[in-house]
Symmetry: C2
Subunit: 298 residues, 2 copies
């Protein structure tokens, strides 16, 4: 069998984003962690890590991490059946990548009961909906919620439903930039808010209105911050309907063009051999995610 | 003078987290960007980038980026005075690092008017309050809001006020874990929520209660997600008072121990030679940040 002490060192360095923190988590010295990585590299005959800040796995390192992730999921099952196997230490967290808007809206309600019943701790990683899958492929997470339908090798994708977005701005912003009503051409001239380089919702919205080319925008990688910036009149942007019900009701945010929502389907990606816990969580999500999402058109 | 074409290529690769996106932003081919980086490395006689995913600046690369950031701030002033100098293209964004909780609460209201008046676009980077300063030092941002008082070389730090945090949980969580009232020992046994490895607020809160040692926690790197998890009963945690006024009023979240807030001072770090725009923003923040913060005890 593989030497899992070495693989656990690699996983800790990547997950903790450094040798120092990995050493703390593993209860080892930094040089011991470093030696384990070197030994692993001697065995596989090539580097498993790029020594950058933070350290990044190489292609072969990524494949090893992917394997570690799946073994960990299987270990949960056997530890539940044979409690004596557990080496003690703090309970391991289930690492899940999801998009910021899901975390800001439906996620907690959908999984809360399950986590409490199972005594399950989560480590959530916020990734934009089109890039969360990279974490799956890299073996850094047990599951992910993202906008991509296509599962990575060894995993399955389940359609949960769609997040409904609306293009909103503050009344002051609308009065300032669109005194004669919102038109596509004027919208392209008003500052927008974009979550990050992978957020193309605003681009898609403008493109559906026939606007091509660039536009000026703020970058704000926080769901809550995005809503706050819009409320403060810095720009317009697409926000999850679920997140802004109160702002809409109070008139602090208004829809730019009536009834032009954008529905973004969300998929749950999980390892096929992910063990019983991940299977039970998948079934739970299948039943409970829908409450916060709209039915997706196929 | 230095060759700023080469430095701009370095900045784009780091800011865009890759050669492909840097090439798009610069309107160059990927190989042209790569050649510029190589030429820069030939000039300085050592690598400026570690070719990882994403690429990471070396120590010398970091110093060069720091310089680029300051030159860019000065360029804003001269471009405002001599508009013909501007090479066109989309307006540059002012890059500012701040903690997620500030972005989720007081930030937008404090800067909204200033950005609208000045036609200023922001690129916000979310960094935990104790690490945002690293971005300053690396020359990746023009300013930052963080919990550290000590400015980096060439910069100034200004005390804005304090964020007031309260330890909160849902009524269901409190009934489940503390049926006989909250005690320090029981609190250490109940699952907490922690923002990320740099968030020590929960540790500090327990430590002030005399609890030492580890405790079980979820990791959730999103301010809004943190509140949602607490509301759904997954754990207890320290949340900015500003962010949960409604949840407190509606009784969806309750304070664990009455009147034990934790105040965290926030500082605005800005380059000393940051130009007029950054100076004006600093003055504006000095007047407007206080509305969302409590006066800091020195």
């Amino acid at each position: 069998m593989l030497d899992y002490k070495l693989l656990a060192a690699l996983a800790a360095v990547v997950e903790q984003a450094g040798f120092e923190r990995a050493a703390q988590v593993l209860g080892l010295s930094q040089s011991a962690v470093s030696q384990r990585i070197k030994l692993l590299e001697a065995r596989v005959g090539q580097p498993v890590l790029v020594r950058a800040l933070p350290p990044v796995p190489t292609e072969i390192g990524r494949r090893l991490l992917n394997h570690v992730q799946q073994v960990r999921l299987l270990e949960r099952d056997i530890q539940a059946q044979v409690p004596g196997l557990d080496e003690g230490g703090p309970p391991e967290r289930l690492r899940i990548a999801l998009n910021a808007d899901s975390l800001a809206t439906w996620w907690a309600q959908a999984v809360g009961g399950f986590c409490t019943e199972q005594g399950l701790l989560l480590e959530l990683l916020v990734e934009d909906q089109d890039v969360g899958l990279k974490r799956m492929r890299a073996g850094e997470v047990a599951a992910c919620v993202c906008g991509s339908e296509r599962p990575v090798a060894g995993a399955r994708a389940l359609l949960l439903g769609s997040m409904r977005y609306r293009a909103l701005a503050s009344p002051g912003f609308i009065a300032r930039y669109f005194p004669r009503g919102v038109t596509a051409a004027e919208l392209a001239q008003a500052p927008a808010i974009v979550f990050g380089p992978d957020d193309l919702l605003q681009h898609r919205y403008l493109s559906a209105l026939g606007v091509e080319g660039g536009f000026a925008y703020h970058l704000c990688p926080s769901s809550e911050g995005f809503v706050r910036l819009a409320e403060a009149g810095l720009g317009w942007g697409l926000m999850p309907e679920l997140q802004v019900q109160e702002e809409l009701a109070a008139g602090r945010l208004c829809e730019l063009l009536p009834e032009r929502p954008l529905d973004v389907p969300l998929y749950w990606h999980h390892w096929r051999s992910g063990g019983e816990l991940l299977g039970a969580l998948t079934q739970h999500l299948q039943r409970h995610a829908a409450a916060g999402l709209v039915a997706a058109k196929r």
